[in-house]
């Protein structure tokens, strides 16, 4: 399999000489086309920072990230592949939707970075309506404002917004952590179906091992900025190699 994203010896250091926080320490890993890679770790493990490096919100201090063999960061400049090729869904649907815009404007927003021809093609009303219905919303919702929706519905809006550009790779940063379990299940099901239908590649960042276990083909475990283990899901779960992974698995609370 060819890697869609290849991360090579990435470091991210915050702060100046005296006060240094190494958020990401020498991480190398591939993300293969069509897979869901789970990135699991606790707060401060650097998993969200790694996600930000991939979507262009933070520049790495050293190391190289390639996307389809093209370098993503040249010094401090993010070399955006094709606008809308890499998309993201954030954790908090309260803050990820602009309260002053209508749902229709929100979903269409990513298109404004696209070339005119593509914008017209992808911004057709039929496509919008189909997409909105696909994520479980209704056409009449398009004229409303985000505050009129529940958390789960807002996350559906965020997902529709990520899909409007027809991306190949989506970074999902704790997409269901702010939701109730029954709504979380709706969103996880939806994400799985959409991935199948659109041949997407997911980087799924979460602290919740049972969500990661359910969603991901491979799991990467991060601890204090470093990558401690990466393998197929069943191997990580059944034969964890690193002590930290073992501890993480043993502190999972099982309902039964």
């Amino acid at each position: 399999m060819t890697p869609l994203v290849q991360i090579n010896h990435i470091n991210k250091i915050y702060g100046n000489r005296k006060d240094v926080i190494e958020a990401v320490k020498d991480i190398s890993l591939p993300v293969y086309e069509g897979e869901t890679l789970g990135l699991v770790g606790e707060s401060g493990s650097g998993k969200s920072t790694l996600g930000k490096l991939l979507i262009g919100l933070e520049a790495p201090t050293s190391g190289e990230i390639t996307y389809r063999d093209k370098v993503l960061w040249k010094k401090k400049r993010f070399m955006r592949p094709r606008p809308g090729e890499i998309q993201t869904v954030f954790q908090d649907p309260q803050s990820s939707l602009d309260p002053r815009l209508r749902v229709k404007q929100i979903i269409f927003e990513p298109l404004s970075a696209l070339p005119l021809k593509e914008r017209k093609e992808k911004g057709s009303i039929e496509r919008l309506h189909a997409l909105v219905k696909r994520v479980g919303l209704k056409v009449e919702h398009l004229d409303r404002y985000p505050h009129e929706f529940s958390g789960g519905q807002r996350q559906r809006i965020a997902i529709a917004r990520a899909l409007i550009t027809g991306p190949s790779f989506i970074v999902l940063d704790e997409p269901t952590s702010a939701l109730d379990v029954s709504v979380q299940a709706q969103v996880l099901n939806l994400l799985k179906e959409l991935k199948q239908e659109n041949q997407l590649t997911f980087l799924f960042i979460s602290h919740n091992m049972s969500v990661i276990r359910y969603m991901c083909d491979r799991i990467a475990v991060m601890y204090k900025g470093g990558l401690v283990e990466i393998d197929e899901t069943k191997n990580v779960l059944n034969h964890p190699k690193h002590d930290y992974t073992k501890m993480l698995l043993s502190s999972m609370l099982k309902v039964n």
Binding site: I55, L57, I86, Q87, S95, S96, R100, E109, P110, R161
Partner: protein, 292 residues
């Protein structure tokens, strides 16, 4: 998947009683402010219909007449009806006050948003310039600016707008620093949208409510400042009916013809007072921080 009943219900609830009006109705002082301002605005708009006189026409034969049925507020040193001049002056004061603050707020919010969004050296330069402007007392700076530009209503307006801008820059900048970290702004960055469109589309619309509060508070100030500059002879030039210059000329005659400076003074007081009451009310409602 989604229960449509809930959503429609939620929507109905939201439109039924808008919380801002609900709260405004319960604030007595603000209501009084609104009533007074409404009255003054009506008088200003209807000025040509309400009085038979021309605000600028000299009629020396009728100079310094006391309040009577013919001239409710009396006449001035060249026989012009003072009520007429006050009403036309209200048009000017309100119009100029609103315009000046509107311009200052628009420029200020944009500069502030740019400064806060980009940060770094741009921010440093902009904020140091603003600090310089803020270091002077506003009125003194406005006087100095008008004096150097030449006394006229135009220049006075420009000067007041300039001295008001830093307040809005600071306000918009601090809002922007918060908004910049919001996920919907980060999302827009990820989508590949350029900084200026992000500022126009996301930052400014979301930073606007504290600016509106500040602006309602400042309109009263601006009217007072225009009047002050007029009083000092730096603002509107005769024969323009302007409250400040009317008080300025009138107060020389205060002992003999009390009505001349008194009535414009009362109107100036009522207008800026009403605007301050409204501003306070609006702030209490829109800004929960100053509430308790």
């Amino acid at each position: 998947m989604i229960n449509p009943q809930i959503v429609t219900e939620a929507k109905e609830k939201n439109t039924k009683t808008h919380p801002i009006w609900f709260k405004l109705k319960h604030n007595k002082m603000t209501t009084i402010g609104f009533l007074v301002l409404f009255l003054i605005v009506c008088l200003a708009i209807l000025a040509p219909i309400l009085t038979p006189y021309d605000p600028a026409k000299i009629n020396v034969a009728e100079k310094f007449q006391g309040p009577s049925l013919q001239h409710l507020f009396g006449t001035d040193e060249v026989g012009r009806d003072i009520l007429t001049r006050i009403l036309f002056g209200a048009r000017l004061s309100l119009g100029v006050g609103l315009l000046v603050i509107f311009v200052a707020a628009c420029i200020g919010i944009f500069i502030g948003a740019v400064s806060g969004y980009f940060g770094g050296i741009i921010d440093q330069i902009i904020m140091r310039v603003m600090d310089m402007l803020l270091a002077f007392p506003t009125l003194i700076l406005a006087m100095a600016l008008t004096a150097s530009l030449g006394p006229s209503l135009h220049n006075a307006m420009m000067a007041i707008a300039i001295v008001e801008i830093p307040i809005y820059v600071r306000l918009a900048r601090s809002e922007t620093l918060v908004l910049r970290e919001k996920l919907f702004v980060k999302s827009a960055v990820v989508f590949g949208i350029k900084p200026i469109p992000i500022i126009l589309k996301h930052i400014i619309p979301n930073a606007v409510s504290p600016v509106i509060i500040q602006a309602t508070l400042d309109v009263g100030n601006a009217i007072l400042m225009i009047a002050t500059l007029g009083f000092l002879g730096l603002g509107a030039q005769p024969p323009t009916p302007e409250w400040g210059s009317m008080i300025s000329t009138g107060w020389k005659y205060l002992l003999d013809y009390w009505w001349y400076p008194t009535f414009p003074g009362i109107f100036l007081f009522l207008t800026s007072g009403a605007l301050n009451l409204i501003g306070d009310g609006v702030r209490d409602i829109l800004d929960p921080k100053s509430n308790r």
